[in-house]
C-alpha cells in the first residue's frame, strides 16, 4: 500500500500499538465524555482548567475529556502486587497555548498503575524511547528526577514562592535570574552555588551522575540518585541508550509528579512531543495507595515532521462526456486502479488538479 496516503499520526499509530501490545499493555477505551464534577474535583491536575461542557438529556453537566490519565486512574484498583498496564489513543479537547482556542488533540500513551517498582520505571522509559524511534531516527529522550530537584530547593529555602520561581529558572536553564533570586531571598552562597551548578548539569548520563553526586546530600536526593544510577545501568544495555540523556530542566508539576520525569524531542518539531513520569502524588491526592508511571505522545504535533509530498494529486484524469458509454468509463477506471494508479473521472479538467497523465475518452469514442 502507498505509504503517502497515511498522515504522519496515522503512520505512527499502528507500530505504536504493536509496541505497547508486545509489552503486555492492553487497550483502554473510554467514553468521550466525563461528568464535569470529576474534572472540577481534580482541576489542579489538568493542563488547563477550561473544558468544553454541555448538558446531558437528564440535565447532568458533562465535559468533553481534556485529559486521559485521570479517567484511567479513576477506573484502576489498588491490589497489592498487581499492576494495571494499559495503552490508549484518544482525542482530548484542550485550549491550545498559542491560539487560546479549543483544539482536538490526538494523543497516545501508556499508563502502568499499581505496585510499581524499578522495572516499571525502566519499562516506561524504554517504551518512551522506542515510541520516539518508531517515528524518527533523530530523537532525544531527556530524563530528570524531581526528588533531586525538590531536595535541593528545600535545602535552600522553605519559601513556596522562592521554590516556584527557582523551579521556573531551572526549567529555563536560567542561571543569571536564579542568582538574582537567591540574592533576593537571602539564600546562602553555598546553596546558591549548588542550585546554579545544578542548572548546568545535563547531557551524557555517566558524566551527569558523577557531577551530581556531590550535590546529593539529603537522603531524598541520595535515594533519587540511586534510582537514576540503576536506570542508567539498565539503559546502557539497550540499543537506544545513546539517545537518552539526563536533563534537570524538565520540571513537571510537583503536585502531580514525584519521581522520574521525562520528555521526548524529535528533530524538526519545535516542542517536546512526549511527556511523562512517575505520578504517585496524583494517586495520593485521590486517596489511593498505588503508584503510577506513564507518558503521553502528542500525535497532532507529528504534522510538522518533514515528509515527502507527492507532486501529483492523481495519476490519471479520465475525461469523458455523454458520447462515452458509462460501462467503457467504468471498465477503464477499473483497469487503471487495478494497475495501482489513482484515477479521477471528470467532464472537464479541474483547474488546480495536479495529474500525471490525461486520457481523453471522448476522442477514443
Amino acid at each position: 500500500m502507498n505509504e503517502n496516503i497515511f498522515k504522519q499520526d496515522e503512520k505512527a499509530l499502528f507500530p505504536l500499538r504493536r509496541l505497547y501490545r508486545s509489552y503486555g499493555y492492553l487497550p483502554f477505551k473510554m467514553n468521550k465524555f466525563e461528568e464535569y464534577d470529576f474534572y472540577l474535583q481534580n482541576k489542579e491536575f489538568l493542563v488547563s482548567d477550561r473544558v468544553i461542557t454541555f448538558n446531558d438529556t437528564d440535565g447532568k453537566l458533562l465535559a468533553l475529556k481534556p485529559d486521559v490519565t485521570l479517567s484511567i486512574v479513576k477506573n484502576s484498583k489498588d491490589i497489592p502486587g498487581f499492576k494495571q498496564k494499559v495503552y490508549y489513543d484518544e482525542n482530548v479537547y484542550r485550549v491550545s497555548g498559542s491560539t487560546h482556542r479549543f483544539r482536538e488533540i490526538l494523543q497516545t500513551g501508556v499508563e502502568c498503575i499499581g505496585d510499581i517498582d524499578l522495572y516499571d520505571l525502566f519499562e516506561a522509559i524504554s517504551l518512551a524511547a522506542q515510541s520516539l524511534r518508531v517515528i524518527s531516527e533523530r530523537y532525544v529522550l531527556q530524563i530528570s528526577h524531581l526528588g533531586i530537584l525538590s531536595s535541593l530547593l528545600k535545602q535552600a529555602s522553605n519559601n513556596d514562592t522562592f521554590i516556584l520561581k527557582a523551579s521556573k529558572c531551572i526549567a529555563e536553564k536560567n542561571t543569571h535570574d536564579l542568582q538574582k533570586l537567591c540574592l533576593e531571598y537571602e539564600i546562602s552562597d553555598e546553596e546558591t552555588c549548588n542550585l546554579c551548578s545544578f542548572v548546568g548539569i545535563y547531557g551524557d548520563r555517566k558524566s551527569v551522575l558523577t557531577r551530581l553526586e556531590p550535590l546529593c546530600k539529603t537522603s531524598e536526593a541520595k535515594e533519587a540518585l540511586d534510582v537514576l544510577k540503576a536506570l542508567s545501568e539498565l539503559l546502557d544495555k539497550t540499543s537506544y541508550s545513546s539517545s537518552i540523556f539526563f536533563d534537570f530542566s524538565i520540571v513537571n508539576d510537583m503536585s502531580y509528579y514525584n519521581g522520574i520525569v521525562f520528555k521526548g524531542f524529535l528533530e524538526g518539531i519545535c516542542q517536546g512531543v512526549l511527556s511523562g513520569g512517575q505520578y504517585d502524588n496524583l494517586l495520593r491526592r485521590m486517596n489511593r495507595r498505588s503508584g503510577a508511571v506513564g507518558f503521553a505522545l502528542y500525535l497532532d504535533l507529528l504534522e510538522d515532521l518533514p515528509a515527502e509530498s507527492d507532486p501529483f494529486d492523481v495519476d490519471v484524469v479520465l475525461l469523458y462526456d455523454e458520447t462515452v458509454s458509462v460501462s467503457d468509463l467504468a471498465e477503464r477506471a477499473s483497469l487503471l486502479t487495478a494497475d495501482g494508479k489513482s484515477v479521477s473521472a471528470q467532464k472537464v479538467v479541474p483547474e488546480k488538479l495536479r495529474y500525471r497523465s490525461l486520457i481523453d475518452l471522448r476522442k477514443e469514442s
Binding site: Q142, N174, F265, E267, C270, Q271, G272
Partner: protein, 207 residues
C-alpha cells in the same frame, strides 16, 4: 548550521557586534540591500533580522535555534524557551509612571494603560490591587495626560519622555536587559554548537 533571530534596530546591531567579536562574523549582513537572511557557510551560522517583539516567536516555533530578546518580551509573552544568558545590554526597566501630582488613594479601580498587559496584571495581582487594563499599542504616555488612564506601565530608559510630559516613575517593576534564548528542541540536537555560542558571548559580557 545555527539560525539566529536578531532584533532589528540599535539593540540588534549591538548584539551582532557581540556575535562578530565572538567569531561568528557574517560580512554580508553589513551590505546595504533588502536581503533578510545572511549566511556564513564557513562559520555555520545564519542570521535574520526580525521585529524585536517577534524574536521569541521565531525561537519558540523553531524557525530560529537561538535569538536575542528583551526580558520585557519574555515576561509578557512567556515563550517556552531556554534563557541561556543575560547579555547585560539594552538595559532599562519596566515601571509604573503617572502624572507628578497623582495620588492613589486605593479606593477606586486603578486605570492602567500599557502595551504589557500580562506584566501589569501580574504585578498588580501580586499587590492585590484591582485594576482596569487599557491595552494600547503606542504613545502610552498620552493616556494619563488625556485622562484615559491613571497610570501607565511601560519601559523606561532615560526617563526623558516622561519628564517632558510631566510624568514620573512611581514604582519600578523589574529591570530589563537583552537575553540569549534558545529553542528547546533545537538545543537537544545542536547542544555543542549552541553551548559554544553562549560560552563565547558570555565571555564578552560587561558587568
Amino acid at each position: 548550521m545555527i539560525n539566529v533571530a536578531l532584533p532589528k534596530g540599535r539593540l540588534g546591531e549591538k548584539v551582532y557586534a557581540m556575535f562578530e567579536k565572538a567569531g561568528y562574523e557574517c560580512p554580508s549582513i553589513k551590505e546595504v540591500n533588502r536581503k533578510l537572511v545572511f549566511e556564513n557557510e564557513e562559520k555555520r551560522i545564519r542570521y535574520f533580522w526580525v521585529k524585536p517583539s517577534d524574536v521569541s516567536i521565531y525561537v519558540e516555533r523553531g524557525a530560529a535555534d537561538i535569538g536575542v530578546a528583551g526580558k520585557d518580551i519574555l515576561l509578557e509573552y512567556r515563550p517556552d524557551v531556554y534563557e541561556l544568558l543575560d547579555l547585560n545590554i539594552g538595559k532599562c526597566c519596566m515601571a509604573v509612571a503617572a502624572p507628578k501630582d497623582f495620588y492613589d488613594n486605593g479606593v477606586r479601580t486603578l486605570k492602567v494603560a500599557t502595551k504589557f498587559s500580562n506584566i501589569a496584571r501580574t504585578y498588580y495581582n501580586g499587590l492585590g490591587r484591582e485594576i482596569d487594563i487599557i491595552h494600547l499599542n503606542g504613545s502610552i504616555e498620552l493616556a494619563p495626560i488625556l485622562g484615559l488612564s491613571d497610570v501607565i506601565v511601560d519601559i523606561v530608559e532615560t526617563g526623558a519622555t516622561l519628564r517632558e510630559n510631566n510624568l514620573e516613575v512611581f514604582e519600578t517593576i523589574v529591570p530589563i536587559s537583552a537575553r540569549l534564548i534558545a529553542n528547546k528542541t533545537g538545543f537537544q540536537f545542536k547542544t555543542k554548537e549552541i553551548e559554544a555560542v553562549a560560552r563565547k558571548l558570555g565571555e564578552m559580557i560587561q558587568p
